[in-house]
Symmetry: C2
Subunit: 306 residues, 2 copies
């Protein structure tokens, strides 16, 4: 068993290899070629903390991956990062522990951003130029970087509840901080990255043809998009089962405004592209699936190992 530190992992990471691995994992997941374990969860409400344990195997791979991820939201006040944890790379031939990737959440951050970029590429209109970023945390920054890189979007607009953070992020991305209404009016592609539990983007802010990647709603109770906006849109989901349970799509399904059968999985879309009309609003609802962890951990492991 080998242990690799966050520094070693980041040094070994190849963004393009990781992107290809995550995209392939989505394809195989939606083709029924992956096994995903029930997610284990522990909560520590006194410390505003939680722990998720995810495990998956893609058929035929020599390795499977178990991820342990924690978020303790009082840590920053103690001078500590809120995210922690590791991914264990296990042999699917013998069950031996091959490696502990002690990424302290870095691989989760990246695989989440890569999924956003893959979804953005799959739903963006040709000729898209302007990216709108809603939120100003680590995912706002990473999604912006990966989506810009993959789609070659020239212009970035930023809005956040925290104006100072929005300005700092906009400066770093050589973009512009502005009002949410203005961002929605000007952006071709919008990525939403907040932990909101009430809609931030309302239906009448969004004009026809806008494409939205929503990554904030990753557990029950979270919501960034008004239900009417989701109901009006074509909806792409990372996992039909998860998104109906706790994604943006879930709110529309529970309200009876969207049929689960109308949801298209990202992997299905990648396997058999769909033509969206220019004027379609398209929402990609991403809740995070363990196969993304498998893909990125294996991608790093194969480079560290050889």
């Amino acid at each position: 068993m080998k242990i690799f530190s966050k520094q070693q992992i980041l040094a070994a990471l190849d963004d393009n290899a990781a992107l290809a691995a995550v995209e392939e994992a989505f394809r195989r997941f939606s083709a029924g070629e992956a096994q995903v374990a029930a997610v284990g969860h522990l909560g520590f409400p006194d410390m505003r903390g939680d722990c998720h344990v995810k495990a998956a195997h893609i058929h035929g791979d020599d390795e499977f991956v178990v991820k342990l991820a924690t978020g303790f939201y009082g840590n920053p006040a103690l001078g500590l990062p809120s995210s922690n944890g590791f991914m264990a790379v296990m042999s699917a031939k013998t069950g031996e522990t091959l490696a502990i990737l002690h990424d302290e959440g870095a691989l989760t951050d990246l695989r989440t951003a890569l999924a956003g970029a893959i979804a953005a590429r799959a739903i963006a209109r040709n000729g898209s130029k302007v990216l709108g970023v809603v939120g100003s945390g680590i995912q706002a920054r990473m999604q912006a970087q990966q989506i810009q890189r993959l789609l070659g979007l020239k212009q970035v607009l930023v809005w956040s509840r925290r104006p100072k953070s929005a300005s700092m992020l906009a400066a770093d991305l050589q973009g512009e901080a502005l009002s949410l209404t203005e961002l929605c009016a000007r952006a071709d592609v919008i990525v939403t990255t907040t932990p909101s539990t009430a809609p931030i983007i309302l239906n009448d802010m969004i004009h026809d043809g806008t494409r939205i990647v929503a990554v904030g709603a990753d557990s029950p109770g979270k919501q960034e998009l008004e239900t009417a906006l989701v109901a009006r849109s074509r909806i792409v989901v990372d996992s039909r089962a998860q998104c109906v349970d706790h994604g943006e799509a879930g709110w529309a399904v529970r309200a009876g405004l969207t049929q689960p059968a109308a949801l298209v999985e990202l992997g299905e879309l990648l396997n058999a592209p769909i033509h969206f009309a220019e004027e379609d609003v398209v929402v990609a609802d991403l809740t995070g699936v363990a196969i993304q962890d498998v893909a990125i951990a294996r991608s790093v492991w194969l480079r560290l190992h050889t």
Copy 2:
């Protein structure tokens, strides 16, 4: 994050401290003072392998524990042990990974044996002298050692489907290998440790007053005791929910012969001892609960850490 090898873990282990920790964990679990995550499972049928991920936290502890355990039953043919995995000791204050106990299954083996001994002590008649061991694998050996140690039983009888293994184990334990019928007739306490999927011990083999600790049935489809035997007995379970789902008790409950309300949890029994009549047959149905992993991992961690 510190890593400890199996050798370091075994050197730090104190059987009495671990026993006390596991017993206390059962008490607190049944008092509703523990949080147990849904168990994650992946199967690798081509390799006769599986992986279980368990996580739990006992209220107020500074640490929680996530266990990853694999069993690949073709490994011995390759000269490898079938069990592998580790326990991660995590901070319940910050979510940081404190230690990886790379026990390769050793802590699971021990906590399972300790639970058997705790259950045997809780249900044995005063004056019990003879222990019957059904099976001849690692759990047969460890259960025998822990139960003998804790109850001071003088005599050990062994039966296994594999007569050679039974003779070897009997020799090691300074006991006697014999037929199953004879074992059942002579033993005061019987421990069953096989992976059987059909009853081995039949109702009419067991005389009144016998006490049985059944540890083999730890997943759906497994069964060591005839359903009529379980239905005739007072039943102690490690976890009511788990045993109704996949323990010996489950067979009797599904057959309508036992009411779930009649099951007593081991922690309840430890918290408020019950008087069993001399002639009662008592079965302790143990399926394995994550709080045992928490208890033993913390017990080792506290000794390794200070």
